[in-house]
């Protein structure tokens, strides 16, 4: 539901600074500024920063570390006119979000939602929904029949759990499809590749690899291509890393789901600016972009 400034008890400090026409200090905290996604989000934040009267700053821990994310926000609390956050851990960050909101600092979530907190709105992709889309795509390319392995670089992460449940739900609607296992690949690129390699050797009769994130997607594609199993083993994954785009264009990966990270970063700032400007804001679905060999040329410069 839409929320607006009237219903919000803004900290006097912020109200005064808006009154005085000072630039808005918007902080965008991302859950791991060292992952491959962060540069896109940062680009969106920087685009938003170009607007007059907006100081947008991109912050967050190196490596997904809840403590570090909390400490940083806590430290910068007094300088914030608004915070957009993508939480390392929804449960761990919720109390802090609530504390900020209570202190009169508007907080929205983006990229990764924190629905149980007092955040105002969420901008991003519905993770369960995007998992469902991935599942559907996989079912489609398999014609409703086959053995599927799910891969993820962090099986225990919240976003991974959400996408996995969506994907399993969608795949479960097809009797002919069996989810063989969820492979936890680890995060190092070599490790990811080796894990897929070993798993495919242990069970050579897998028909589809469904990757839940940016990074095991190209690895799965590379494995398929290098072992001459293109078309024989289908790959569906996430995001538009260079390598992924190329593999989709070559028909190695059948489909990938984009979540427009740059837009997420931009919208995160924009929503807060809008809110502080007195206009109501509401949840924003940044959408599920589906790219297949047919339309992937759109994202190739």
């Amino acid at each position: 539901d839409p929320v607006s400034l009237e219903e919000f008890e803004l900290a006097p400090r912020i109200a005064e600074s808006i009154e005085a026409g000072e630039p808005l200090d918007i902080f965008v905290s991302y859950h791991d500024v060292s992952n491959e996604f962060a540069p896109f989000v940062r680009a969106g934040v920087e685009r938003a920063d170009e607007a007059d009267n907006v100081n947008a700053r991109f912050i967050g821990p190196v490596g997904a570390d809840a403590d570090a994310q909390i400490s940083e926000i806590e430290t910068l609390m007094d300088q914030m006119d608004g915070l957009a956050i993508s939480s390392v851990s929804t449960d761990a960050l919720a109390p802090l979000i609530n504390r900020l909101v209570e202190a009169g600092i508007p907080v929205i979530s983006y990229n990764t939602d924190n629905p149980d907190s007092d955040r105002l709105v969420f901008a991003g992709q519905d993770l369960v929904q995007s998992g469902r889309e991935a599942g559907k795509l996989m079912a489609e390319v398999l014609d409703g029949e086959g053995r599927v392995m799910i891969t993820t670089l962090d099986a225990a992460a919240q976003w991974s759990l959400d996408r996995e449940s969506g994907a399993r739900e969608a795949l479960g609607e097809h009797d002919g499809i069996e989810v063989v296992r969820t492979l936890n690949t680890g995060t190092d690129p070599q490790e990811i590749f080796a894990a897929i390699e070993n798993a495919m050797l242990a069970d050579p009769n897998i028909d589809g690899i469904l990757s839940l994130e940016c990074c095991s997607t190209p690895a799965a594609g590379e494995w398929v291509e290098r072992n001459n199993r293109v078309g024989d083993v289908k790959v569906v994954g996430f995001d538009l890393l260079d390598q992924t785009v190329e593999l989709v264009a070559d028909g190695v990966i059948q489909a990938t789901i984009d979540q427009a990270p740059e837009r997420q970063g931009y919208e995160a700032v924009n929503l807060l600016v809008t809110f502080l400007g007195g206009e109501p804001i509401d949840d924003l679905d940044t959408g599920v972009g589906i790219y297949t060999p047919d339309n992937v040329s759109e994202v190739m410069q």
Binding site: S71, T75, L76, P95
Partner: protein, 340 residues
């Protein structure tokens, strides 16, 4: 300089306080800390505010609690790489006990016991098992992390009523991690202060502490003095394991959530860095609780300062590495200039 400097304990004449402070072992790291604080006080507006200082206090507490334990282990001549995993396992286990309906004290006790048991295993492997402790605890790092993952199935554990925590238990548990003593001092900091005080007493005032130094300085000579080297080292590991679990439990109480794949990952290196910045020697026999507290403060103030000054996160990584190197180098060099 006469060799009495810095050890006024047995010297017949009382040395003036200033003199004692200036020749104390902790001078190097203390100076580093003062320089950093002065710089931040001028360079930023918010560093010297009460809120910020209390924040720093809270942010260093868990690292600090573990660093006190690591001081015992390093002084005894060993090392413990498994503390990040123990931190995770202890906290997660306690959290799971609480949401499965246990009362507070048994849940806490069980969590601490798990930590103590890990310490015991580390100690047995490193003494009777004759493994270098770096290897024994490296193996345990992996074993304990895996156990935490198995225990939780890799799922995040969140301690709240919805998951089954009894409201009164939850309230008291959360107070441990999130509460404030007298409404001002974060409870985590209170725990850290208490652990530091007890640790100081134990290490520098008791027979056990004496033995830890003796064993770390020269295990053979300690044995000739009738000191049971193995049991002293095992106790040092048990203290470490228990404190790692305590820190993990407090983290659980603060957040109040944790995840086996992530909680405390890589923490061991931070903890060791803090203790070594505080002047302890990896070769054993040297180290003080005061130095460790200062070392922890250096890391805490540095992190806080970098954030306050808006240093980019990547640059922060570089700066942290530099400060570790510089702080220890200052310490080495000031020691050297004092001894020649």
């Amino acid at each position: 300089m006469p060799p009495t400097a810095g050890s006024p304990r047995y010297s017949p004449t009382r040395v003036s306080l200033a003199r004692r402070v200036l020749t104390a072992k902790e001078t190097g790291v203390f100076l580093a800390l003062v320089v950093m604080c002065l710089f931040l006080a001028f360079a930023t507006e918010s560093f010297l505010t009460t809120t910020n200082l209390l924040n720093v206090g809270r942010q260093i507490s868990l690292l600090g609690i573990m660093a006190i334990g690591m001081t015992f282990v390093l002084v005894s001549g060993e090392i413990d790489l498994s503390v990040g995993s123990t931190y995770a396992l202890g906290g997660l286990a306690t959290g799971m006990f609480i949401i499965s309906g246990w009362p507070l004290l048994p849940a806490l006790g069980a969590g601490l016991l798990i930590g103590a048991a890990v310490g015991l295993a580390n100690g047995l492997l490193s003494t009777y098992g004759r493994l270098p402790s770096l290897i024994a605890t490296l193996g345990m790092l992996s074993i304990i992390r895996g156990s935490a993952l198995l225990l939780t199935g890799g799922q995040p554990v969140t301690v709240n009523e919805r998951n089954g925590a009894a409201p009164d238990v939850l309230a008291r548990f959360e107070f441990m991690g999130q509460g404030y003593l007298f409404g001002v001092v974060p409870m985590q900091l209170v725990f850290f202060a208490a652990v530091a005080a007890l640790g100081w007493l134990l290490l520098s005032r008791t027979a056990f502490g004496f033995r830890v130094f003796a064993v770390g300085g020269s295990a053979k000579a300690a044995r000739v003095s009738g000191i049971h080297v193995q049991s002293v080292k095992i106790w040092a590991f048990v203290i470490m394991g228990t404190l790692a679990a305590l820190a993990g439990i407090l983290s659980m109480a603060f957040l109040p959530s944790g995840q086996a794949g992530r909680t405390g990952l890589g923490l061991e290196l931070d903890v060791i860095a803090a203790v070594v910045i505080g002047g302890a020697s990896l070769a054993g026999g040297i180290g003080t609780v005061l130095g460790t507290v200062l070392g922890v403060l250096v890391i805490g103030v540095l992190r806080n300062g970098l954030v306050l000054m808006g240093v980019s996160p990547f640059m922060q990584e570089v700066m942290i590495g530099l400060v570790i190197i510089i702080a220890v180098a200052i310490d080495k060099w000031s020691m050297r200039s004092r001894s020649t």
